[in-house]
Structures are given as structure tokens and as C-alpha cells.
């Protein structure tokens, strides 16, 4: 082996030394390729592992935490939910349709691998500004890819989020979330057990696609990114639908000892992880692998990332049943080897051993780094915000209209109307409210789902920003009437080899951990995506939170929209002079500066408890979390769906007008309540020490906001709604 051999595969000289030490000899070319993909950042988490161990991962309801294909949480009645979020950023930057499609396909496989029936998906997307033609192309194609795959496989995409910011211009983020339902005594794990048991590869044939995809995901996007197209997989949702049905039929009717999907690093990853988790070895004959093309080498078969494939271990007496079920669904199934006692992956081709590697050396023994971490210099500049230098708002009407037209705030209908969000007839709250709500068939229960992250906050203060991502996700679930249960996270950052980036990463994980502890929502798994950089620029640090909540009675769900005229509008929580990191400052003053709003976790818990109790007691007609654009934008959003206006009166009490209207102080929820229930709500808030302000009443065809007796905002709803609704379609024309 020459230096060039391992360096070209992304391995360092030290890592190559570790490999020779582990094997007691030099690796051959095939083995070197296996180590290169398994020790890539994408598969090994070598830079993040030590930090991730600090996440709170335990809770009464957690049945499966991090380390498996997806996390699992108990929801009572013998049922559990299985969910995970994962990135597909780099493939989507180069081939957006297939990148996004296979991102969704991959996360769906992670869910049914665990024995769960996938019931819904979300996606969290981030693009550069839509004024850029390349960005428009990426946005259209990513949405089309998600729609194409999701609609064809019949799993509804019921929500998520989309942001637009220059930091994502060269490196968009495509994070896919999927949730499935299962009986809690039917959980399947990715373990190879029972010496002599057959190992089966089922589903699609293996082709030459996606070779080195995991390695591509573990480096910055360079000028040669276009040349990486051959590393990108192609999705076949029809094939995956058949695979899903065949696997669930098998799991529900037969004993499967272990099952694992094939994703990044293909067969190599699935084999080594199953053997390593099971403490066993595997004898595999690559001549038995159904291939799409003739003459594929051992290297290609082991590293291909062809989609829609699963690996499973069954007892010998079940082998025939597997072949029968897969044949009926028109799918391949091949017995490619046996479980062995010696903890070694021994790979055969043409009657000869082509690779012989201890399974643990590829997984458990991958390097663990503790990268240097330095507070970035930019924070010195960005943290300074002198509000005295910024004139207060003079035309609040115009400022509100401007904010409603910001793509990150405006209606995302253009996106979600392309998704079949109603498939499976369980969608109770559709996309567009604070969280999606699904009913659970056969029970009274419901699930609420959301993804959240304001990455501008994280950029300006990674610790607080990440805390807010968790708190906002929980707030969104509570506003829908659900009790938050647990999270999955997708940590999107730049290169961990840069100390400033790694500092962001560590701070963000610490912030998330603190919020998860306070809100009692443990981390059940997720994914780290580093190297999100193009050119010199890293993306804003983006730790996306996917959170799941439970409604004991789905009939008690709530949405953000005003339901009836004459209701009281009440703001729960306090407003401060906080404009740092706000959308208002970015849009109206072109400033990304200051510190994000403060978050007091005790106050956050109190306001969430108040609103959840109020919804369960049937006091509220609507509840909406205050986020980007603050109180004025939130009020407008509550008016739009049923076209019910509002007239409210505010008092500055020493606050700036712009802070009052557009500031993004945390732990605030806007509710509407029928007159006869107002006192009960105010009492409940007082009991929980939550400040409550009765602002005015719903009704009419205008949104009117008076401040200290002066009309500051008076807009016909039709005009405001048109501005909000047309913004994205206009930019995409």
C-alpha cells in the first residue's frame, strides 16, 4: 500500500496505522475500502461520538435509545412509536430530486427495519435566497423529489419547516423525519445471532450506484461536486413499497432474529454493524448477491449504496418462509452467508477469501477524536447590538407586510400541496399549523409531530439557540394539545476539524441537553451531518429538533387559527426589549446581530403547562407559539385560515414599539378563548405564575393593533393574506 491509496479514500496516515495494528498486517484493497467507508465521519461519528454521549437518553417511556436504526418510545396500550430524523444534504446539493427522494426512502427503511409501520414523514429544508436561480432549481427539485417518493410509497408528509438564508446558498439542508407505529413487544433489532443461522439479502439487486456515498458526505462540497453525481443513489419508491409490505408481513408472522437496512456504506455497514451488535462473525459469499450488472468486483458489491435492500438473520427453519414471502411480492431474496462464532467478517468471492476483518474493528474500534474547540471570533462582533443606534419602527403596517412576505415566514402552501399529506386517512391537523396531529387508529389517542430550529439564533449563540430549538418544538406540540415525549435530532454543522465549528457543535449539544432535561424529552437518536460547507463558508449551525408528542384524546387537539368572532385574545408570557437575531432586524435593518432572546426554562415549563392544561380542559379555541416576526406576525397568522380578524390594544410599558410588535421573546403563546371561559384561563395562568394579558377580541375583516391608544397596524385581512400567501409562488415563477 502507498500513502496515496489510503489518502485518496479519505483515511489519514494515523488511521492507516491503526488499521494495520488492528489486523496485524497490511489490509488488501477491498479491506481498505471497507475501513475507509466505515471510518468515514458519516458512519463512525468519530468527531462527534464523545460529545453525543452527554445527551440525556433515558426516560420512563424510552424503549430504545440511540445506537439502533431508530429510537422507540412507549405510548401506552401496548403500542410504541419509532422515529428518527436523518440528513441527505450533500446528495441533494448535487442531484436534488434523487438526493431528497432517497433521503426519504432511507429514513422510511430505518423505521420499518425496527418492525414499525411507517405512518408519516416530515422534512426540514433549508435553502439560500430564492432570488438565486440555482437555489430556485434546488428548491423545486427537492420538493418534487420528496413528493415523488412519498406520494408513490403512500406515506404522508404532514409537516416540517423551510427556511431561506444566504448561509445555505451553496449547501442546502435536506433533513427527513419518519415515524412508525408498532406493538411494543414486536421490536426488531439489527443484530446477528445464532451461529450457523442463514443471512439473507432481500429487495433490490445490487448495482454500481452510490459507491463512496458515505465518503462524499464526509467532506466539504468542493468545485468538483458535480463530478460526484455517480456517488448518488437513485430511488425506487415502488420497490421500497413492496419491500416494506414484504418485511412487515414477515416480521408480523415469523420469527426474525435480526434485521437491518442497507444505507450509507451499503453491505459493508450492514454486515459489520449486525455482527458487532450481536457479538458474532459472518461468513459471506458475494457470488450469492443478486447483482444488477455482470462482473461487479468484491469492492463494488461491498460498497455500493443501491437503495431498497435489507439484510436479515433468521432461524434455519424460517428461511423458506422468507423466500416464499419475497417471491410473492416479486422481490429477490438470497441467502448470502451464515452467522459464525469468531467475530470476524469473512468475505468470499470466486471461492477465495477477499476480506477478513474483525467486525468490531470496523465499528466499535473506529477512531474517536476530541477535536480542538475555540470560541469563534465573529461572536465578538455579532454579539454587540446597540439598540440606541437603531431607529424605532415608524410605519408598522409596512414592516408587518414586509415580514409576511419573507419566505421563511410566508405561507408554505406551494410546498405542501405537492405532498399527499392526507394518505392513510389519519391526518387530523394538516400542514400549516404549529404541529401536525395524527390519530392512532383503533385508539382514542393522537400524535403531534414537529421539526424546529432557528439557526440564526444558534449562529449568534449556539448554546441558547439550541435550547430554543428544543423549547420551541415542545411549545409547538403543546399548542396542538400534546404532551411532548422525546426528540430525535439532526445536527448539521460545518467541518468539525475547524476549532470554531467544533465549539459551535459542543455548545449546541450542551444547550439541547439542558433543554431536554428541563422539558423531560430525552434524545432517542438522530444523525450528525458535518462538512456542510461550500467555498470558505460554513452553514449556520443547524441542530434540527424533531419532536413527538402524545394526545390521550385526539378530539382535544388544537390549532393556531382563530375559530370564532367575539373570542378574547390572550397573550401568555412576557415580552422584553429583545430584537437580537430577530427576523425584523434582518429584514427591516439588514442586521444579523445581537444575542438571541433569553430562555428561562422554568418559565418555559410553566407556560407550556398552562396551555396544555387549558386545552385539555376545553378552555381554548386556538393556541399559537410566538416565533419569527413576534406578536404582530403571530396575530396575523391566527387570522388567515378562517379569515377572522382581530382588534387588540397593547401598552409599551417602556418597551420599544418594534420590540413589542416584532421582537421574538421566548416562552410566549397567543391563545383565543370564548368569553365565558376567560376567567378560568386567567386563573389557571395565575396559578402557574404565568403572566397573562387580555389583548382584545377576534372578529371583523381587519387586523388592528393599537399601542398606547394609537393605531399602529390596521390592515385588511385580504391584503395581508395575499402578501403572505403569494410570496413563495411569486419568487419561484
Amino acid at each position: 500500500m502507498k500513502e496515496q491509496d489510503w489518502r485518496s479514500l479519505g483515511l489519514t496516515d494515523e488511521e492507516y496505522q491503526m488499521i494495520t495494528k488492528s489486523l496485524g498486517r497490511e489490509p488488501n484493497q477491498v479491506e481498505l475500502g471497507m475501513f475507509a467507508v466505515m471510518w468515514s465521519e458519516h458512519c463512525s461519528y468519530k468527531h462527534s461520538k464523545a460529545v453525543l454521549r452527554t445527551f440525556p437518553t433515558e426516560g420512563e417511556r424510552v424503549l430504545q435509545g440511540p445506537g439502533e436504526n431508530a429510537g422507540i418510545v412507549d405510548i401506552g396500550d401496548g403500542l410504541a412509536v419509532c422515529f428518527k430524523i436523518e440528513s441527505h444534504n450533500h446528495p441533494s446539493a448535487v442531484e436534488p430530486y434523487q438526493g431528497a427522494a432517497t433521503g426519504l426512502g432511507g429514513i422510511i427503511r430505518d423505521i420499518f427495519t425496527m418492525g414499525a409501520r411507517p405512518i408519516a414523514a416530515l422534512n426540514s429544508l433549508r435553502f439560500g435566497p430564492l432570488e438565486d436561480a440555482r437555489v430556485r432549481h434546488l428548491c423545486r427539485e427537492v420538493v418534487a423529489g420528496i413528493a415523488g417518493y412519498g406520494n408513490t410509497i403512500g406515506i404522508p408528509t404532514v409537516g416540517g419547516e423551510i427556511y431561506f438564508d444566504p448561509s445555505y446558498r451553496g449547501n442546502p439542508l435536506v433533513n427527513a423525519f419518519c415515524i412508525g407505529l408498532l406493538e411494543k413487544d414486536k421490536i426488531k433489532l439489527g443484530k446477528a445471532s445464532g451461529v450457523g443461522n442463514p443471512v439473507l439479502l432481500v429487495g433490490a439487486r445490487t448495482g454500481r450506484d452510490g459507491i463512496h456515498g458515505a465518503a462524499f458526505a464526509s467532506e466539504e462540497l468542493g468545485d468538483d461536486a458535480e463530478q460526484k453525481v455517480p456517488t448518488i443513489q437513485v430511488g425506487d419508491p415502488f420497490m421500497e413499497k413492496l419491500l416494506l409490505e414484504a418485511c412487515l408481513e414477515l416480521i408480523n408472522n415469523h420469527e426474525i432474529l435480526g434485521i437491518q437496512d442497507l444505507g450509507a456504506a451499503g453491505l459493508t455497514c450492514a454486515l459489520s454493524e449486525m455482527a458487532s451488535r450481536g457479538g458474532t462473525g459472518l461468513e459471506i459469499d458475494l457470488d450469492k448477491v443478486p447483482c444488477r450488472e455482470e462482473g461487479m468486483t468484491a469492492y463494488e458489491i461491498l460498497l455500493a449504496e443501491s437503495q431498497e435492500r435489507m439484510l436479515m438473520v433468521v432461524a434455519p427453519e424460517q428461511e423458506a418462509a422468507v423466500h416464499e414471502i419475497f417471491a410473492r411480492w416479486g422481490l429477490n431474496s438470497a441467502t448470502i452467508g451464515r452467522v459464525a462464532a469468531d467475530c470476524i467478517l469473512r468475505i468470499w468471492k470466486n471461492g477465495a477469501v477477499v476480506a477478513e476483518v474483525p467486525a468490531d474493528s470496523l465499528t466499535e474500534e473506529a477512531p474517536v477524536y476530541h477535536p480542538a474547540s475555540v470560541k469563534p471570533a465573529y461572536l465578538e462582533t455579532t454579539s454587540v447590538l446597540d439598540l440606541e443606534q437603531i431607529p424605532d419602527v415608524t410605519d408598522a403596517n409596512q414592516a408587518l407586510l414586509k415580514l409576511l412576505a419573507v419566505p421563511s415566514i410566508s405561507s408554505k402552501e406551494w410546498v405542501w400541496q405537492q405532498y399527499d399529506y392526507l394518505a392513510r386517512t389519519c391526518t387530523v391537523v394538516r400542514p400549516g399549523s404549529d404541529a401536525a396531529v395524527l390519530r392512532i387508529r383503533g385508539t382514542k389517542k393522537g400524535l403531534a409531530l414537529t421539526t424546529d430550529c432557528n439557526s440564526r439564533y444558534v449562529y449568534l449563540d449556539p448554546y441558547t439557540g439550541a435550547q430554543i430549538a428544543v423549547a420551541e418544538a415542545a411549545r409547538n406540540l403543546v399548542c396542538s394539545g400534546a404532551e411532548p415525549l422525546a426528540i430525535t435530532d439532526c445536527l448539521n454543522f460545518g467541518s468539525p476539524e475547524k476549532p470554531e465549528i467544533f465549539w459551535q457543535f459542543r455548545q449546541a449539544v450542551e444547550g439541547m441537553s439542558a433543554a431536554c432535561r428541563a422539558l423531560k424529552t430525552p434524545v432517542t437518536g438522530g444523525n450528525v451531518s458535518f462538512y456542510n460547507e461550500s467555498g470558505e463558508e460554513a452553514i449556520y449551525p443547524t441542530p434540527t429538533v424533531g419532536m413527538v408528542g402524545l394526545l390521550e384524546d385526539v378530539e382535544q387537539h388544537c390549532t393556531q387559527s382563530f375559530k370564532a368572532p367575539g373570542d378574547y385574545v390572550v397573550l401568555l408570557g412576557e415580552t422584553f426589549n429583545e430584537l437580537g437575531g430577530s427576523e425584523y432586524l434582518a429584514t427591516c435593518h439588514q442586521l444579523v446581530k445581537g444575542l438571541p432572546p433569553r430562555l428561562d426554562l422554568a418559565k418555559e415549563c410553566a407556560v407550556q403547562k398552562t396551555v396544555l392544561t387549558a386545552i385539555r380542559q376545553g378552555l381554548l379555541h386556538s393556541a399559537h407559539d410566538l416565533s419569527e416576526g413576534g406578536l404582530a406576525v403571530a396575530l396575523a397568522e391566527c387570522c388567515f385560515e378562517h379569515e377572522i380578524g382581530a382588534k387588540v390594544e397593547l401598552a409599551t410599558h417602556g418597551l420599544r414599539l418594534d420590540s413589542l410588535l416584532f421582537g421574538e421573546s421566548q416562552s410566549r403563546i397567543l391563545v383565543s378563548v370564548p368569553a365565558e371561559k376567560l376567567q378560568a384561563l386567567l386563573q389557571l395562568a395565575a396559578d402557574n405564575q404565568v403572566p397573562a394579558f387580555t389583548l382584545g377580541k377576534t372578529g371583523g375583516e381587519r387586523l388592528q393593533i393599537q399601542v398606547d391608544g394609537q393605531m399602529q397596524i390596521a390592515l385588511p385581512l385580504a391584503e395581508a393574506k395575499a402578501t403572505w400567501r403569494e410570496a413563495i409562488p411569486c419568487l419561484l415563477k
Binding site: 418534487a144 413528493a147 406520494n151 408513490t152 410509497i153 403512500g154 425506487d236 419508491p237 415502488f238 420497490m239 413499497k241 413492496l242 411480492w329 416479486g330 405542501w416 400541496q417 405537492q418 405532498y419 399527499d420 399529506y421 392526507l422 394518505a423 392513510r424 386517512t425 391526518t427 387530523v428 394538516r430 390519530r439 387508529r441 385526539v554 378530539e555
Partner: protein, 233 residues
């Protein structure tokens, strides 16, 4: 009464139709695998929504070759009720059991949204319980729902009362703005000449419970039940 829900490889919304019959209509229901060559003992067959065979070609173009489709045609010829929902409607036109064809939406995009339907003929087994003048709120979810029939076919459809649903405003006005996909004459659903086979792009199984946003679609299924009860007498 007994429903059969046909399952093709890659059928996605078979579960929606099945659950509707079982949980909401409280009638008996069975899945029918696409390779069945005979369908017996059923009172109504549903060809479900979603996709079939991945629909990589024209929607429904492959499903119509499944062995079960000959049995479905025989069942229809003998007067059995056949309901094609979304993809099921596409399959029925591909199979020649209903006139016309479904093109790509004029937007060239998939559309999932509520639609409002004006009922054009309340004198069919599928619509007899719908109060005249009631506008139905039922969602659509399709990429190829743009109904086309040539002028002569269209004239016959009108003359025979085979146009059953048209896209309208919430107030029941049939306008170009209310047309979500470019369908000729805002047509959302048609039936065959003998009125026992109905195809529609809006999906009533998704609008048969208030919890899901509308129960208007249930009127179609109660119509079917009433018709069946009367036929049985």
C-alpha cells in the same frame, strides 16, 4: 353488505378504503389480491386511491393488465357496483370501463387540497342520498387528474347524465378558478352508461369523518348502502 378492496402491487391507499368500510360504515370488507381471476360474494368493489405499480408510466397503465381486472369487468357487466377512487378512476379509464382519460394536471404538479363538488346527477346508486344542491367538501390528491373526453363522448356523457361531480366553489358555482387540474368542463367524476361504475378523482374515503375535516364523502357510501338494501328486497 360486503365490499372488496382490490390490492395491486404498490397500492397505497387500499388501507384507507378498507378502514373506512370496516370502522366507519361498519360493513364487511376483504382485500382482493390483483392476481385473483374470480371475484365472488361481493356487493361493491373499490379500486383504491394512491398509486399502483409505482405509476412510473401513465397512472393505472400497468394495473389494468392485472388478472383481477377481467373479473372486475365481468362483475361490472353483471351490474355489480364498482367505485374507482383517484388511482382507481385512472385504472378504470385505462381499462375502458369508463370513458375518457386523465392527463397530467395543468400545473404539472401534484395537488393535495380540499375541493368542492357540485353533484350533477343525484339519481345514481352512488348519489341518491345526497340532498340536491348540497355542495360536497372532499379533498383531492393527484398529479394526473385532468379529465379529458373528446367532444362527441362529452356530448353523450351529458345526454346520459353520466357526469356526476364537477369542481365548484364552496357556494356551488362551477367556475374556472374552482378547477384544480384543468379537467374539461370541471369534471371530477363520471359513471358508465348503466350507472353502476363510478370513477372520481376527489377522495370521499378521506372525508367521511368530522375529525378529518369533512364528513360529506360519507353520503356517497350511505347512498351505496341504501341502493344495495333496496335491491336486496
Amino acid at each position: 353488505m360486503k365490499y372488496g378492496v382490490v390490492v395491486f402491487p404498490g397500492s397505497t391507499c387500499d388501507v384507507d378504503a378498507y378502514s373506512l368500510v370496516k370502522d366507519v360504515l361498519k360493513q364487511s370488507v376483504e382485500y382482493i389480491w390483483h392476481q385473483e381471476e374470480k371475484v365472488t360474494g361481493f356487493d361493491c368493489l373499490i379500486l383504491p386511491a394512491g398509486a399502483s405499480f409505482g405509476d412510473y408510466l401513465r397512472c393505472g397503465a400497468l394495473a389494468r393488465f392485472s388478472p383481477v381486472m377481467k373479473a372486475v369487468a365481468d362483475f361490472a357487466r353483471q351490474g355489480g357496483l364498482v367505485l374507482g377512487l383517484g388511482n382507481g378512476f385512472q385504472i378504470l379509464t385505462e381499462a375502458g370501463l369508463l370513458p375518457g382519460a386523465l392527463y397530467r394536471n395543468t400545473s404539472l404538479q401534484f395537488r393535495c387540497q380540499d375541493s368542492y363538488l357540485k353533484v350533477e346527477n343525484c339519481d345514481t346508486p352512488f348519489t341518491r342520498e345526497i340532498p340536491p344542491e348540497q355542495v360536497l367538501k372532499i379533498p383531492i390528491a393527484h398529479g394526473q387528474g385532468n379529465y379529458y373526453a373528446d367532444p362527441e363522448t362529452l356530448r353523450q356523457l351529458k345526454a346520459n347524465g353520466q357526469i356526476i361531480f364537477r369542481y365548484a366553489t364552496a357556494e356551488g358555482e362551477v367556475t374556472p378558478a374552482a378547477n384544480p387540474n384543468g379537467s374539461v368542463d370541471n369534471i371530477a367524476g363520471v359513471c358508465n352508461e348503466s350507472k353502476n361504475v363510478l370513477g372520481m378523482m376527489p377522495l370521499p374515503e378521506r372525508a367521511s369523518e368530522a375529525l378529518l375535516g369533512s364528513a360529506d364523502g360519507k353520503l356517497i357510501f350511505t347512498s351505496i348502502l341504501k341502493y344495495w338494501e333496496e335491491c336486496r328486497l
